[in-house]
């Protein structure tokens, strides 16, 4: 009984480092691939399917209690994998990937709902990992809007410059675009430099 009581008191006063982190970015930047990588590395599980067709993730998916140990710190995260943010969604774009018209329209409708959900999640987060495709122009409005929202809310943010396994990737271009923010070049698919990302997650959100 005294041991149980001691353990209960210890739990009560133990400083628990816990944060709810959203994974944001434009469609096809590799958000779900990164969420899968993080969750798989620390729990052995996965978050959701990935696809080359944009807006594969059309519902936010939350995984709770992901404990990361890095850089001598332990942090417990709720990871929210959000649908890709966009300012336009045209079902014709999905038909170019071979989808039938009805399916393309359904996907477009669900994608619009997913974007709304992603925007709403911004209000309930402790920090953001912004995933950018390092082969693309970093100055997209989606990136500018997410960064602006994090700065306005004074919340921590980390940029993951993804797809560095591709020859045309240029994390330097992203670094020079947003020099005020911490950036980690990674390949979520290949796991390249992922340990550095965990170190920075512990530093920024711990």
């Amino acid at each position: 009984m005294p041991i149980k009581l001691f353990s209960w008191i210890k739990k009560l006063f133990k400083k628990k480092r816990m944060a709810r982190i959203g994974i944001y970015g434009p469609p096809n930047a590799g958000k779900t691939t990164l969420a899968n990588r993080i969750v798989r590395d620390w729990t052995g599980d996965a978050v959701g399917p990935v696809s080359h067709i944009p807006h594969e993730t059309r519902r936010a998916r939350r995984r709770e209690d992901i404990t990361i140990e890095a850089n001598g710190r332990t942090i417990t995260l709720d990871i929210v994998d959000t649908p890709g943010l966009a300012t336009k969604i045209d079902f014709h774009d999905f038909m170019r990937y071979g989808l039938e018209e009805d399916e393309a329209k359904r996907r477009a409708k669900e994608a619009t709902e997913g974007v709304i959900e992603a925007v709403k999640w911004l209000e309930d987060l402790d920090g953001v990992i912004l995933v950018m495709d390092a082969t693309e122009d970093p100055f997209t409005q989606v990136n500018v809007t997410v960064i602006g929202n994090m700065e306005a809310r004074h919340l921590p943010m980390l940029i993951a410059a993804n797809k560095i396994d591709l020859p045309e990737a240029s994390p330097t271009r992203i670094r020079s675009a947003f020099p005020q923010h911490t950036l980690v070049p990674i390949s979520a698919l290949e796991g390249e430099n992922i340990e550095t990302l965990y170190d920075e997650i512990a530093n920024r959100f711990g």
Partner: protein, 130 residues
């Protein structure tokens, strides 16, 4: 009937661009600004805002845009602005005033305005009539 058929129109064809002053937007609430922008863009106009929206207003604009998208109708907006700047003045920090400075923003219908290139100091876009 024949006359009507042969009539030639002298209306100038093109896309309307409206340049909106900072003062005009300053008199509006956030939701009024967003409603104004969406109504103008949905009537095929391209807006150039002297000072853009706050990041929170931009997020709200994206949200409302998504609600209005319809197949074969409105497919969304193209919006480009320069990243906001943080006001680093000591007085602003001491008195806790809003330190975000919004900047020039271009907004138009996605089927008419296309961004070609964007960097820290320049936005290049094309406007199509359709």
């Amino acid at each position: 009937m024949t006359r009507k058929k042969n009539q030639t129109t002298t209306r100038v064809q093109g896309v309307e661009l409206d340049f909106i002053s900072e003062d005009k937007l300053a008199t509006m609430t956030a939701i009024e600004k967003i409603r104004f922008i969406l109504d103008e863009v949905r009537s095929s106009k391209i807006l150039v805002l002297e000072r853009g929206l706050t990041p929170e207003e931009e997020a709200k604009l994206i949200e409302l845009t998504m609600i209005e998208i319809t197949p074969d109708g409105f497919s969304g907006i193209e919006i480009e602005s320069y990243p906001t700047k943080q006001n680093t003045s000591i007085f602003g920090k001491i008195f806790g005033k809003n330190t975000t400075r919004t900047r020039l923003t271009v907004i138009g219908p996605a089927d008419k305005l296309k961004t070609i290139k964007k960097d820290r100091d320049m936005i290049t876009a094309i406007v199509t009539k359709q």
